[in-house]
């Protein structure tokens, strides 16, 4: 599902926000431009309106009633008819007008009224269709005058006037018309076609829309690019994880920038993968080693049985073959038991008994157990373990100690010595088994506790050596909360030290 993709969701959100911002911006810009245009236009209208209305002010003086006589509309237009002949006084309403234009306004009943624009205003109202025009109505709504360019049927102003005494400007198609109440109760209209201005505004609107679309497109492209870039490490991680899931544990995420959030995630994942790979490799190695250990005894059994059965044999030949098979089987049993013990120790299933025992007695028992082996090799064992109360599984500690002693005897030189000593240090006891053999090579020393690791590669064949003894010893000691270490100073044999925690003594 495409909408599930983070990149797409990012892109959609980003696009929507961007679109809203752009729309708001465009609308604002258009509105500002439109207001500016209309303000300019309206100023033009107001200029003409002002000029017209001021020229229409009723003349003061004896011929015309002043405003103080009551604002009747009739009074505004004194005189019953055209009075061309009167000429003389320049009316206030049409300053500087020539006599033919300086006609008094007709009375309400005047039919043959002709309004002539004062020359000073002619440049304000042209004859062209797109120029400003005016229409003047009397109090009764009769049209009194109109300019040349005024459209034929200009509707009279709405009777309902606004709070300022003037109806708001109206739009009739492309025509914008302003009203002004004349002092006599009539009204004055100034209008003009603003089609060109409206067309200009439309161009502005389309330009804004086009620019907005281009910017939106650029923004979306940029956003997609950024989202792709931002998502690439995630995709790398997921691609690598897919490969690892498919079984290729050697894959790593390439994280060039380890300081970024994703880089740190990649580093963490990489180290997890490394540990996983190491664990798998160890497991594989362990399985291979275990299988390898089984191969030789099985080879013995196969060869022995195949040889024995290839023809009729004397009883003692059969016996020899069966004995060889028995030895091989015993070796496999020992290996199997060791593997099981290790597996239990690994899983933490080996229940650690917490029994009190005395270390010196346990050490003496172990020495006694390996005495026949020591005698056979003419190795002397010195045991100097002071009585030390311990807590743990004495059987398992015995196994560790016996294993260490047996190793010390076996890898000793003829007529060598094995020293078993113990030293108590604050809360731990250190048990050391030291021999006088050839010691352990420095390159083997760090690895001797590994499973199936043998310093002497050939010892696989030697019966009783599974290559697991030291690994089991370490697992047991660690399960007791202690540790085991090996040291081999050049020319001084090998020394294994088992550190066991001592139980807390009551009060003292």
């Amino acid at each position: 599902m495409i909408l599930k993709s983070i990149r797409w969701r990012l892109q959609i959100w980003y696009g929507l926000v961007f679109l809203a911002v752009l729309t708001g911006f465009g609308l604002t810009a258009y509105e500002l431009e439109r207001n500016r245009q209309f303000r300019n236009l309206d100023a033009e209208f107001q200029k003409r309106m002002g000029a017209l209305s001021s020229s229409m002010r009723p003349p003061l003086g004896p011929r015309g009633p002043g405003p103080d006589r009551g604002g009747g509309p009739d009074d505004q237009f004194p005189g019953g008819g055209p009075t061309d002949d009167r000429g003389g006084g320049p009316g206030d309403g049409f300053p500087g007008a020539r006599p033919p234009e300086d006609r008094p306004f007709p009375g309400p009943g005047g039919q043959d009224f002709q309004f002539r624009l004062p020359s000073s205003l002619t440049n304000l109202f042209g004859a062209e269709s797109n120029s400003f025009y005016y229409v003047i109505w009397g109090r009764n709504g009769a049209e009194l005058a109109r300019s040349e360019a005024a459209p034929r049927d200009v509707p009279p102003p709405p009777p309902d006037t606004g709070p300022g005494g003037q109806p708001p400007p109206r739009m009739r198609g492309p025509l914008r018309e302003f009203f002004h109440a004349t002092p006599g109760g009539g009204s004055l209209l100034v209008g003009s076609s603003i089609a060109e201005d409206l067309a200009g505004l439309r161009v502005v609107a389309w330009s804004l829309a086009a620019a907005g679309a281009v910017v939106l497109l650029l923004g979306l492209t940029g956003g997609w690019w950024i989202a792709t870039r931002a998502m690439r490490p995630v995709e790398d991680i997921s691609a690598t994880a897919v490969k690892i899931a498919a079984g290729d544990l050697s894959q790593r995420i390439s994280a060039a920038d380890t300081d970024s959030e994703l880089g740190r995630l990649a580093a963490v994942l990489n180290s997890t993968f490394s540990r996983l790979e190491a664990a798998f490799a160890q497991q594989r190695q362990f399985t291979a080693d275990a299988a390898h250990e089984l191969r030789t005894p099985i080879a013995v059994m196969l060869t022995q049985t195949q040889t024995a059965l290839s023809r009729e044999r004397a009883a003692d030949e059969y016996r020899a073959a069966v004995q060889a098979c028995q030895r091989a089987a015993q070796r496999m049993r020992k290996l199997m038991e060791s593997l099981l013990q290790l597996a239990r120790l690994d899983a933490g299933q080996e229940t650690m008994k917490q029994l009190p025992f005395d270390l010196s007695k346990l050490a003496a028992d172990c020495v006694e157990m390996v005495a026949p082996l020591a005698e056979a090799r003419r190795v002397k064992i010195q045991c100097a373990v002071p009585p030390t109360p311990c807590l743990g599984d004495p059987e398992q500690i015995s196994q560790v100690l016996t294993n260490l002693l047996a190793n010390a005897i076996e890898f000793n030189k003829p007529s060598g010595q094995v020293r078993l000593t113990a030293e108590t240090q604050s809360s731990v006891v250190k048990l050391t088994v030291a021999d006088t053999g050839e010691g352990i090579a420095p390159e083997d020393l760090p690895r001797i506790f590994e499973r199936f690791y043998r310093a002497d590669k050939s010892r696989s064949g030697a019966a009783g050596h599974t290559g697991l003894g030291l690994a089991i010893s370490r697992a047991i000691v660690r399960a007791h909360g202690g540790d085991i270490q090996a040291a081999s100073p050049p020319g001084a044999g090998a020394a294994f030290t088992v550190t066991l925690p001592l139980p807390h003594r009551p009060s003292s």
């Binding site: 080879a299 060869t303 040889t307 060889a324 030895r327 050939s458 696989s460 064949g461």
Partner: protein
């Protein structure tokens, strides 16, 4: 045919040696690296069965040193069956490679093939006159009739047949047919040759006095 087995697991060594002896081979054994290398360098074995994990010197090292002087066919015996090990074995100069645990019949077959190739013979059936030697079945027929031979007699016939047309010295025969413990019995060879002549006809093996024996060559 004389074979050296170098193997440190005593039970395996003993049963392998016994099985190979019963197949008619002269068998020498060594339980550790250095003595195995010494034997392999000293005698002209027809094949060496070499374990990889050995005390004191491992199989790789023995093979490396042996290859400096000898082309004796070597069959490596190992408990590792990873292909890396097989590649290493073959690259070091091993002629074949058997993984423990193995089936004895397979081991024997591989040894026979090694010995045949070592003697420059590719086929496992050798024909000399009306006598056919099937080295796979270890059986000899004369005119289509099987002839019963002891293992040692068969080995002698096979060795001469592998070196068909060549004069084989008594020393060589002793070296290849008898192991270290038997070599002192000097007239044993004559007894076997005389028995073979009784079974396969007097002209089958010719004696070159002062040189040795020859099969199928110019009389």
């Amino acid at each position: 045919m004389r074979i050296l087995i170098v193997e440190d697991e005593p039970d395996l060594l003993r049963s392998l040696a016994q099985a190979l002896q019963e197949e008619g081979y002269a068998v020498d054994t060594a339980a550790e690296g250095p003595s195995g290398l010494f034997n392999a360098q000293t005698y002209d074995y027809d094949a060496v069965v070499l374990d990889v994990m050995l005390p004191k010197m491992d199989g790789w090292e023995i093979l490396r040193r042996l290859r400096q002087t000898k082309k004796t066919p070597v069959l490596m015996l190992t408990a590792r069956d990873q292909s890396r090990d097989r590649v290493r074995g073959l690259d070091t100069g091993a002629d074949d490679y058997v993984v423990k645990p193995f089936d004895l019949p397979e081991l024997f077959a591989r040894l026979r093939a090694l010995i045949r190739r070592g003697a420059g013979q590719a086929a496992n059936v050798l024909t000399v006159g009306d006598i056919v030697i099937d080295t796979g079945a270890r059986q000899i027929t004369r005119g289509g009739q099987p002839v019963a031979l002891t293992a040692r007699e068969y080995a002698l016939v096979e060795f001469l047949a592998l070196h068909h047309g060549q004069v084989v010295t008594r020393t060589a025969l002793y070296d290849h047919l008898f192991d270290e413990n038997e070599s002192s019995l000097s007239n044993l060879l004559d007894v076997h040759v005389s028995n073979i002549r009784k079974k396969l006809g007097p002209g089958f093996i010719t004696t070159r006095r002062g040189h040795g024996y020859c099969m199928g060559g110019p009389a």
